[in-house]
């Protein structure tokens, strides 16, 4: 039986600590020890991306990291994106454009899109699709997820999303 380790993390700006075994996965520690239940356990095999969190500026699948590997890291989850003033623009746009149906993949989708838009603030549709390739959705067919992310990017770049051709369907553009 391995000894427990003293794990220190910064989660959504708050410094926290716990004792855990090295073999515990980051997703389990977040959900079960810190009650951070935004990141979901979907496939648990690093395919689906429902467990995506931001770790020191990287989008990672928390089911495929031991919490021990995250020792000292700063983690942002979907819980950390909204401000007291309201939801993050990505959250608003997922609602506006109906970028979810059952919602299970949504925290991972939004957390990944948040990092994508920091690395590439004004992506093309193709770049959004490529950048979101690590997140699976079994409901939406992705169209509205892509629209939501493009709309959020347009707003974050000071444009009117409703007038942005990238956000419209081909029929609307015609």
């Amino acid at each position: 039986m391995a000894e427990k380790m003293h794990l220190k993390l910064t989660i959504n700006g708050e410094q926290v600590e716990t004792l855990c075994e090295p073999r515990e996965l980051l997703i389990h520690v977040l959900r079960e020890r810190f009650n951070i239940t935004g990141p979901h356990i979907g496939c648990e095999t690093s395919h689906c991306g429902a467990c995506t969190v931001d770790l020191d500026g990287k989008s990672v699948k928390a089911c495929t990291l031991f919490a021990a590997q995250a020792q000292g890291a700063a983690i942002t989850t979907v819980e950390g994106l909204a401000s007291p003033e309201g939801m993050h623009v990505l959250q608003e746009m997922f609602r506006e454009h109906h970028g979810l149906q059952c919602g299970y993949c949504t925290p991972g989708m939004i957390t990944r899109a948040w990092r994508l838009l920091q690395e590439n603030p004004d992506p093309t549709e193709e770049e959004v699709r490529f950048g979101m390739a690590g997140n699976l959705c079994r409901c939406t067919g992705y169209q509205n997820i892509i629209k939501a992310i493009l709309a959020a990017a347009a707003i974050m770049n000071g444009r009117d999303a409703a007038a942005d051709d990238a956000v419209k369907t081909p029929e609307e553009v015609a």
């Binding site: 073999r23 996965l25 690093s46 395919h47 990672v60 495929t64 990291l65 021990a68 990944r112 390739a133």
Partner: protein, 283 residues
């Protein structure tokens, strides 16, 4: 899916990592990005008593670009893709790395892990055959260099000893046309077939050609005969047919859930033709 208990070590230098290996022998194993090893541990197909996390070993990081290019083993696919000097000097690496897994996996997955694991499905081993790269291994007896073309023995079996750590890859700056072409069932998948091609050209004739294939045998395949078939030609017509035939004679695919043998050979031919055409065009 939680693996058996293990002790976690996080050394800050290579000597520290080798020390843990020396103390615990084959009960110890290094972890790089962990995206091959952790799934195996979760499935309990691998049981490790002492896990040595290399993320704090600074000597394993960094990319240096000159006439020789050196990439530290702990450089992630994400770092590699975003290194502008590397993309300028050896763009085939970015082209290949962008076809590995998905963004989240590329933030974690490392070049060293990809080449050292010996998984026939990994893309970097084939690319390293094509580049004629050299791997640096460090163990208790010191450091040694192994050509990538002599590193792979069988699936998951390489010339690396259990008490050695692969610390870096290096290769001469490729001066030629390039292409990494990969056919896969879906984004993020391993290759049904993949081809790495480097072409040098002078006055419309191919002066050098290096061709390697991925996931079409239990090790990556460097097809010298395929490259030879292109040398001195313009890389089209009969020469292209001969190169593809030579490659097909060198691979040995097996039937699995990516398809039967005949299908894999068909795909291998198609992607090699595409890769050669693109590399010749860029040369």
């Amino acid at each position: 899916m939680i693996p058996p208990a293990f002790e976690y070590h996080r050394p800050t230098d290579i000597a520290g990592a080798l020390g843990v290996i020396a103390e615990h022998g084959d009960e110890a194993r290094v972890i790089a990005g962990g995206h091959s090893l952790i799934p195996m541990m979760k499935l309990r197909m691998v049981e490790i008593a002492h896990l040595i996390d290399l993320q704090d070993v600074a000597d394993l990081k960094g990319i240096s670009v000159g006439e020789t290019i050196r990439i530290g083993a702990m450089v992630t696919q994400h770092d590699l893709i975003n290194d502008e000097a590397l993309a300028e000097a050896a763009p085939i690496l970015r082209e290949a790395a962008l076809q590995i897994a998905d963004p989240q996996v590329r933030y974690c997955g490392t070049v060293g892990g990809n080449v050292a694991n010996g998984d026939p499905g990994n893309d970097m081993p084939g690319l390293m055959q094509c580049l004629d790269a050299t791997f640096t291994l460090v163990g208790p007896e010191g450091s040694r260099e192994v050509p990538a073309r002599e590193f792979y023995e069988a699936a998951y079996t390489t010339t690396r000893e259990d008490d050695e750590i692969l610390t870096a890859i290096s290769f001469a700056k490729p001066s030629s046309g390039y292409a990494y072409e990969k056919q896969k069932r879906k984004i993020g998948d391993y290759a049904t077939a993949a081809a790495a091609v480097l072409i040098g050209k002078d006055a419309g004739k191919i002066t050098s050609a290096s061709i390697a294939m991925t996931n079409l045998s239990d090790i990556p395949i460097f097809s010298e005969a395929a490259g030879d078939a292109l040398t001195g030609t313009d890389g089209t017509g009969e020469a292209l047919d001969k190169a593809v035939a030579a490659m097909l004679a060198d691979i040995d695919p097996t039937e699995d859930n990516r398809g039967p043998v005949e299908f894999k050979k068909h795909v291998a031919g198609v992607i090699l033709r595409r890769a050669i055409a693109r590399a010749v065009d860029r040369a």
